[in-house]
């Protein structure tokens, strides 16, 4: 789990990144100290680490049916 802490407006956003096949998750905090404390606690296993959802596999477009040709 990689975390990226960034200021967004007047909030602090923690982006949680897993493997390349996982969707990222963003948690926001009102203060940097609060966000940093959460990151440290998550690293120590003191708070529940978010389970990242797998990225949705891109679906291949269904092939269009061939038009039937009347004899």
């Amino acid at each position: 789990m990689q975390t990226n802490l960034t200021k967004v407006g007047d909030k602090w956003a923690v982006e949680v990144i897993g493997g390349p096949d996982d969707e990222t998750l963003v948690k926001t905090f009102s203060g940097r100290e609060e966000a940093a404390t959460w990151i440290r606690a998550a690293g120590k296993g003191e708070v529940e680490v978010p389970v990242l959802k797998p990225k949705k596999a891109s679906r291949a477009k269904p092939q269009s049916k061939a038009k039937s040709v009347k004899p």
Binding site: Q2, T3, N4, L5, I17, R40, G43
Partner: protein, 229 residues
């Protein structure tokens, strides 16, 4: 038996002034290597020691094979010492690979704050404006890598959980793009992605402070930083 290149070896192209030189051109890389055979002194390092408790926080080089910078702390919580190179001489740059490797052992893996790596000069380097460091903070023996470019503060997952008085080797490889590979005892543990490295010069730095009362020691065996020019 080693392979012998009796005429020498070269890493330069035809026309280079060092073309006939039989050793590799070291100017292709900016290299910092300290095996700590000599004590970090104030003429070369900014040393920030805190000694509120009994004793004096200091760095010494004891009699030990391999060379070790030994941090000894005074006896209060938050006593200890940070050393940073007196100038900021490394700037990570896109398109230029950078390697960093170090070896250390800490007296109290849980009750301590320590770091080693590159950071902008700051007497409280855990809060330096820009950081490219391995670190661990008080209350946990977990080691992680921290990249802070003054906009985004990124932590890796836990790389290793330290044990008291046990050496560990840590290494980072920046690919010149947006990835940092992280190694423990020469094995790849994880890769940070989407990273923007700090855009200004940083100093080599290391240090250890107590997370609880009682004098402690930490041994920094070496640090090696190499960047492509």
């Amino acid at each position: 038996m080693p392979t012998h290149f009796s005429s020498g070896v070269s890493n330069v192209v035809t026309g280079n002034p060092l073309y006939e030189l039989g050793v590799l051109d070291p100017t292709k890389y900016h290299t910092y290597w300290d095996d700590f055979d000599t004590t970090p002194i104030a003429a070369q390092w900014t040393l920030t020691a805190t000694s509120a408790g009994s004793g004096t926080s200091a760095i010494t080089v004891p009699d030990a094979d391999g060379g070790i910078a030994r941090v000894t702390t005074a006896a209060n919580e938050n006593d200890g010492i940070y050393a940073e190179w007196i100038s900021e001489t490394f700037k990570l740059e896109s398109g230029k690979k950078t390697w960093m490797k170090c070896r250390l052992s800490v007296g109290d893996a849980v009750q301590s704050d320590w770091l080693i790596g590159l950071h902008s000069t700051d007497t409280t380097p855990h809060d330096a404006t820009m950081r490219y460091i391995f670190e661990s903070v008080d209350g946990s023996a977990n080691v992680y890598f921290n990249n802070d470019n003054d906009t985004t503060d990124s932590d890796s997952s836990t790389l290793v959980t330290l044990t008291d008085d046990t050496f560990v080797t840590l290494a980072a490889y920046y690919d010149g793009g947006t990835s940092i590979q992280l190694f423990v005892d020469d094995a790849l543990v994880t890769t940070m992605t989407g990273i923007t490295v700090p855009a200004a010069e940083m100093a080599v730095g290391f240090g250890y402070i107590n997370g609880a009362a009682g004098a402690e020691t930490a041994d920094f065996d070496y640090i090696y930083v190499i960047k492509e020019r």
